[in-house]
Amino acid sequence: MDNFYVVSFNSTHHAIRTEKLLEKNGITITTMPTPREIAASCGLSIKFDISQIDQINKIMKENSLERRGIFKIVRDDQENRKAIKIED
């Protein structure tokens, strides 16, 4: 898999609410387990296309949805994955 972006959550409820709202607004997303590179705990993340970031931020802000942050998951030369926080 190539580089991708995720919104990562601390709360499963906020993750599910965000998923529903984004889908209602016609944004294509994939709900996935939080990548190990972000947190070892069991959590949910939403994978999205970077072109949608402004709209996602807007919807999350309007609905007071909390998150761990937005992360970019990248692969280095050795195929190791790394998570870079790009927004809180």
């Binding site: 993750a15 599910i16 994939t30 709900t31 996935m32 387990p33 949910l44």
Partner: protein, 203 residues
């Protein structure tokens, strides 16, 4: 005195049992065991060490390996043939049977999220299952649930066989809605489950 055991082509635990028989036939000396797969090699060495025999690899050509086992007078073999188990299995294949449109009992909404999450994570797993069987409410995942269909398609592209229960598709009137994999019947489902050493059932 040296006894040669040719265990090539034999499935576990036969190589170990034949090694044991050869060792039992002598008071002391050397038994050379030839194997041609990783699991028998590991299992034979492990067995030899467990009965305090020396084991060393004397020739190795790819998977074709000869192990030299040295038995001394005070080696005791007190394990029965039927107790010999293969700790290292060369067959790590498995199939997954999904029996419901959600994962586990409890909150329904959470169950839907979890099954989606599971199928996503499965696409990144190694080794992948040989097949995934979808039964009862599980057929929703190969038909009307777009999020899961997408990940199941990725699994199919990676070589995982995707099978949905025909009776179930028919019952839920979802036959026309099948988006990934093929339709199967109970006979095939039974065969798939019987042919595989490990079946993971979710639902």
């Amino acid at each position: 005195m040296s006894i040669k055991v040719d265990a090539r082509g034999q499935a576990c635990p036969l190589p170990v049992i034949n090694t044991k028989k050869a060792l039992e036939s002598i008071d002391e000396g050397v038994v050379e065991v030839r194997v041609d797969d990783l699991a028998p090699k590991e299992n034979v060495i492990k067995f030899a060490k467990s009965i305090n025999c020396q084991a060393e690899i004397i020739s190795e050509n790819g998977m074709d390996v000869t192990i030299k086992i040295t038995k001394s007078k005070d080696t005791k073999i007190d394990i029965k043939d039927e107790d010999i188990k293969c700790d290292i299995s060369s067959d790590n294949s498995y199939i997954v049977a999904i029996m419901s449109n959600k994962l586990g009992n409890g909150n329904e909404e959470l169950g839907h999220v979890l099954i989606k999450s599971y199928l996503f994570a499965l696409t990144e797993t190694n080794p992948l299952p040989k097949s995934i069987l979808f039964l009862n409410g599980g057929v929703e995942l190969t038909t009307i649930n777009n999020a899961t269909v997408e990940n199941i398609k990725i699994l199919e592209e990676k070589g995982v066989e995707i099978l949905s229960c025909g009776t179930c598709l028919d019952y839920y009137e979802l036959k026309q809605a099948l988006k990934v994999g093929s339709i199967t019947n109970m006979y095939t489902i039974i065969e798939k489950m019987n042919d595989c050493s490990k079946v993971i059932t979710l639902g």
